[in-house]
């Protein structure tokens, strides 16, 4: 039997997928993160979505500028450590007032094992906000669906860059013992 907490832990990536599909997101750019593994798999299996694996997160920022210019909607999936890689490319969104939906799984802030994640995890929200991105953070699994839905609407209806930070408390501990 799964506990309620385990059930919530497994359904939120499916809920994000449903929100993205309903919003006609057709391009999914990502740098892999364990927290996004299930969502990436769902998107790869979906015919209406083109998944694009990136070598660095800023590629996805630039790509999604092109997507919107071409009339398509996309999403960027990444880990908090990649936010620092995006900063200058985000200036394109500020200057052109382009929509961007980023879904960022957090590292370095809660139950972290790797001390090298702490610096970027601690500055993720501030770095995004300084770059002109609207940031909403989710630290309970039951709030994921509503927050991603609201941020998707905000990004594409108002043509603004928006990031959802999925906190480590939602994702769960990474098991380093195996």
């Amino acid at each position: 039997m799964q506990t309620d907490q385990q059930t919530r832990a497994t359904v939120w990536p499916d809920q994000i997928f449903d929100v993205l599909k309903e919003a006609d997101i057709s391009q999914v750019a990502y740098v892999p993160d364990a927290g996004h593994a299930k969502l990436i798999n769902r998107c790869q299996a979906e015919k209406s979505m083109r998944t694009v694996s990136l070598t660095t997160e800023e590629e996805g920022v630039a790509m999604l500028a092109g997507s919107w210019m071409g009339g398509a909607k996309g999403v960027l999936l990444m880990q908090s450590s990649g936010v620092g890689n995006c900063i200058n490319m985000l200036s394109m969104f500020e200057e052109c007032r382009l929509p961007l939906l980023m879904i960022v799984t957090m590292r370095g802030v809660w139950g972290e094992f790797n001390p090298w994640q702490v610096a970027m995890g601690g500055s993720t929200a501030a770095a995004l906000e300084n770059a002109g991105v609207i940031v909403h953070s989710v630290d309970r699994a039951e709030d994921v669906r509503e927050t991603v839905h609201a941020c998707t609407a905000l990004a594409f209806n108002t043509q603004r860059p928006v990031a959802v930070l999925i906190q480590q408390r939602v994702i769960g501990f990474k098991n380093w013992s195996k």
Partner: protein
Amino acid sequence: MAAKKSAGLDRRKVVAALLAERGDALVVTGLGSPTYDTFAAGDHDLNFYLWGGMGGAAMVGLGLALAQPKRRVLVITGDGEMLMGLGSLATIAVEAPKNLAIAVIDNGHYGETGMQRAHTGRGVDIAGMAKAAGFKSAKTVNTASDLKEWIAAFHRKPGPVFGDIKVSAEPAPMALPVRDGTAIKYRFRTALLGADAQK
């Protein structure tokens, strides 16, 4: 060395020749001289002039090419700009968009910042890198006859196509397109999408 700088093709003539038969293609320009060269060849509603986002031009082209698979997407950028986004050559090669072609206007220097030499001017072969990444077609273009032949590939060969076009480092006359990003965006999207641009 002045003599070395004057070797190579004339960048304005190259870009004008690249765009002479653009048809209904969508054009993305990398910041700096390629943006000016493209404007000097004739302003066009379907030019997305980048004035920033260095390293991102090819990836903007990929997003556009995936969104508009029936249209040819042409990226015209500089060697320094392309060097900053080398990983995108791997990403684009893996995605293999048939409708994307990239022209690097390669003067071997950083022209906007005081003509410092770039790696491309010191032996780095970016067409070779594109080829090794898996581009269907990648070529270094050195002469006017190479260029004439390559222009056909730029417009018609199944992509992704890559050309590193060696041009002179002589500066070209000032030619500056619209800078306001939202104005560029609305002009481009309205020309491409019509009323849907406002949705």
